[in-house]
């Protein structure tokens, strides 16, 4: 099947044939050796053998050009990594999780081969989610008009994941230079592919997509794989559209070393797949067509064995990561404001609304940095600029290349932001993660993945993204237009979380987010967008550092710690107490939840001795629980009463205004709790 194709056993140069044989041989030696490390309790506890995928994996690596391309291998892609240039030492360092592992110093699971320095990306174990990253980086390649393609590789069963559909749909719609390779070995662990989808060849499920070519090849055959991938690259470059290559492979061994395939595969099948061992086939061809003698191949095999032995010794001598390093690279250092060091100002003049503060800052930062982008559902169409018009006028000023709509696919919005930020470290991306925070849940997988990146790569990749979300209730929005989701979001290391309650802080925090490296989660209390209560004067260059709470009202008798919508209720309650009870209440607006300004909280607690934590989210498992726990841990001896909390009931938010009122916190509830506490 190689006629008129670039590569064939007869026409390919001997030097190339030898290079391939060396790569395949050393790869298989490592693949076969990997389980021994587990047996000897050295490491490599996860190993997904690639034997049977040799043809396509060799070809992916040979196709990959580290100068122009981006490669997203999956956990079975050992030969892909070797063929792309990883040395046997580098493979072993990753396998046994050594500090000098180029993927990320042993932080990520074994068999997740990567070398970010060469654009061989460090990908998740959440199988197939890197399709979104490949699409994202391809979007950047297209926008910056650079040559090359993004190559995503995965098993056929992971195509069942919804985000893979989203990725392929996006690549097709945006006509992006992405090569999706499906390595089809017939199984997802023990699940036969007939249980995944109706067609045996899952790539054919995408035949109705526009701007997309689908090519099938024999992934067990070196020449067919090489020719197919060359054809795929040519098609992508000439037609500026993505390609799917489905490579038929066999899985000679179990899924991984925690799987026992003889529980679900009979002897006939196991012999059948062994009969099509791609390396054995390639070796037979070299001899049959007299390109190499058996003696020559034996000599190469012996040389490769020595190379692997040498790599093994280097691996065993390599240092382990230090336990002291665990807090390194959780999140990059943020931008530090020089002028507004504590995030306050003395600006006088007209008050600007919260929404104006956001809109003007986004525009100012887009003018300041040409490598800024924003997308999301509904962010830009004619005169519309977001569901609440936060981005109004941006597309008109900055163009569709930088300000654009996304499909209703939150995982895609988030995942492609991750991917696009891989293109270079200068890019700053803002996304509207969903129309409302309530709809962000489909993006959680991509979000969680993104929180890991900086740590997992040991600082080699920082996703520089700000996720904006219209949050909270008080608009009669019911269960899906009222959620405050920070209680969930703040459980993930690797993201900063901010929740301003005034226009100036909204502007200042947005500027700091957009100038910082790393991942930011920006919650916008949508009930305050146009509220006169939240309007303030805003200096044009205002910046608010992360982790700096702001005292919005000073007091001596009680501290209320709050953020977002409830800040205004707390201020109102504090005013009433002052007027009616003669006590003074300090209201501390956290602004940032991560990093959390516990110094400010503790300072205030030590002054007042009483503390009420108020937020809109549910009290049960809400973020206030963390604050309360830290106070009792660090300032117990200063307390004159229990740490009390006010927030939502442990129910969804009802649509009927009577229900909403009963569920969400309000000034009266805060007043009652504050007065109870003042009684101590």
């Amino acid at each position: 099947m190689t006629k008129d194709k670039k590569y064939s056993i007869k026409s390919t140069g001997k030097e190339t044939l030898e290079k391939w044989f060396r790569l395949m041989t050393v790869g298989r030696l490592l693949d076969d050796r990997a389980p021994n490390y587990l047996k000897q309790a050295i490491g490599w506890s996860y190993h997904a053998p690639y034997a049977g995928h040799d043809g396509i994996q060799l070809a992916i690596g040979q196709l990959f050009n580290r100068e122009t391309d981006h490669l997203f291998p999956y956990y079975r892609d050992m030969l892909t990594a070797i063929s792309s240039g990883l040395s046997p030492e580098e493979v072993i360092y990753n396998g046994i999780s050594k500090d000098i592992d180029v993927a990320g110093g042993g932080r990520h699971m074994s068999n997740h081969f990567a070398k970010p320095e060469w654009n061989i990306h460090n990908v998740s174990s959440s199988t197939g989610n890197h399709t979104l990253h490949a699409v994202g980086v391809a979007r950047a390649m297209k926008k910056y008009k650079t040559p090359g393609i993004a190559i995503s590789s995965q098993g056929e069963s992971s195509v069942s994941e919804g985000y893979v559909y989203e990725a392929i749909n996006g690549a097709s719609n945006e006509k992006l230079p992405v090569l999706f390779v499906f390595q089809d070995n017939g199984y997802g662990i023990s699940v036969p592919k007939k249980d995944q989808t109706a067609r045996r060849k899952v790539a054919d499920n995408f035949t109705g997509f526009k701007n997309l070519r689908i090519i099938h090849c024999n992934g067990k055959d070196v020449f067919d794989s090489m020719n197919t991938l060359e054809e795929a690259r040519r098609h992508i470059e000439e037609n500026e559209e993505p390609v799917i290559v489905q490579a038929n492979c066999v899985r000679i061994h179990s899924h991984s070393n925690s799987d026992a395939h003889d529980l679900y595969r009979d002897d006939f099948e196991l012999n059948y797949v062994k009969d099509y061992d791609p390396l054995a086939k390639y070796r037979r061809l070299l001899i049959r067509y007299k390109r190499f003698s058996d003696e020559e191949l034996i000599a190469i095999e012996e040389e490769m064995k020595q190379e692997v032995k040498k790599a093994h010794k280097a691996g065993m001598a390599a240092p382990d990561p230090s336990p002291d390093s665990i807090h390194d690279f959780v999140i990059p250092e943020p931008y530090i404001p020089e002028k507004y060091t504590d995030g306050t100002h003395n600006q006088k003049g007209d008050a600007k609304k919260f929404i104006v503060g956001l809109n003007e800052t986004l525009k100012a930062e887009f003018r300041h940095n040409p490598d800024t982008y924003i997308w999301g559902q509904d962010v830009a169409y004619k005169e519309k600029g977001g569901i609440f018009n936060v981005t109004k006028g941006m597309q008109q000023e900055f163009g569709i290349e930088r300000v654009f709509n996304a499909p209703i696919a939150e995982d895609f919005i988030m995942g492609t932001a991750n991917g696009m930020s891989r293109f270079n470290d200068k890019i700053r991306i803002v996304i509207e993660g969903a129309e409302f925070a309530d709809y962000f849940w489909p993006a959680m997988e991509a979000f969680v993945e993104t929180t890991h990146e900086y740590w997992r790569t040991k600082g080699q990749f920082s996703p520089n993204i700000t996720i904006r979300l219209a949050s909270g209730g008080y608009i009669g929005g019911g269960l899906y237009h009222s959620q405050s989701i920070e209680g969930s979001i703040t459980t993930f290391p690797g993201v900063r979380v901010v929740y301003p309650s005034f226009a100036d802080d909204a502007a200042g925090l947005m500027r700091t987010c957009m100038r910082s490296r790393g991942l930011n989660f920006y919650m916008e209390p949508k009930a305050l967008y146009n509220s006169p209560k939240a309007a303030t004067p805003i200096p044009d260059d205002f910046e608010v550092p992360f982790g700096k709470a702001r005292i919005r009202r000073e007091g001596e008798d009680l501290t209320i710690v709050t953020y977002g919508n409830t800040t205004h209720m707390c201020l109102e309650a504090a005013g009433k107490i002052s007027e009616e009870d003669g006590a003074t209440v300090e209201v501390l607006d956290l602004r940032s939840l991560i990093p959390l300004d516990m110094d400010a909280v503790l300072t205030s607690v030590k002054k007042t001795g009483k503390i009420l934590v108020v937020h809109e989210d549910k009290v049960f498992s809400g973020f206030g629980g963390e604050i309360a726990a830290q106070i009792t841990d660090q300032a117990f001896e200063y307390l004159d009463g229990p740490v009390k909390r006010v927030g939502s009931t442990f129910t969804p938010v009802g649509f009927n205004r009577i229900l909403e009122g009963a569920i969400l916190p309000n000034t009266e509830k805060i007043l009652t709790a504050a007065r109870d506490l003042l009684e101590y």
Binding site: M1, T2, K10, R200, N218, N248, Y276, K281
Partner: protein
């Protein structure tokens, strides 16, 4: 009739049985020579003007290794004037999307080198979804399905050989 070369893998079970059955049916009309495709040379293949090739379909529609590894040689051959009949083994129930694909692929390769493919048969009586061996309402050879229609093998082989006797020279 000139001597017929029957080419297939000797390491197969079902394909070998059918090859022998065909050889028995041909006996008396022409001499036959059985050749193992795993060891065949280009010269051996080209010495026949009448050939019968047997192949299964592997995986989701592939030629078995033993044929695939001979393809680079075939691609350098001039097969003009050669009459080649193919029998294919498939599983229409288990693999309805790729029934007899191996036979279709082999026919395409041989035809591209100038061979005249003979021994087409009707696809009536088979139940599958798609096949690379399908040419209109015919297969480009004899379709054998041990898994679900094994009882028809004898009858199908005999009818096919009868047809070949007229189409071979």
């Amino acid at each position: 009739m000139k001597k017929i070369g029957i080419v297939y893998s000797f390491n197969t079970n079902k394909t070998s049985k059918i090859a022998k059955r065909i050889a028995d049916a041909v006996e008396g009309t022409a001499k036959v020579e059985m050749i193992n495709v795993e060891e065949i040379t280009a010269e051996q293949f080209q010495k026949f003007d009448n050939l019968i090739c047997g192949t299964a379909t592997w995986f989701d529609g592939e030629l078995p290794n033993h044929w695939d590894e001979f393809v680079p040689d075939i691609e350098d051959m001039d097969l003009k004037g050669k009459n080649i009949a193919i029998f294919g083994l498939g599983d229409q129930k288990g693999y309805p999307e790729n029934f007899l694909d191996g036979m279709g692929i082999l026919a395409e390769i041989l035809e591209a080198q100038g061979a005249r493919i003979v021994g087409f048969t009707s696809n009536e009586g088979y139940n599958y979804e798609s096949s690379r061996a399908e040419k209109g309402d015919q297969f480009c050879g004899l379709g054998i399905d041990y898994e679900s229609q094994g009882s028809k093998n004898k009858e199908r082989v005999n009818a096919w050989v009868k047809k070949l006797k007229m189409e071979f020279k």
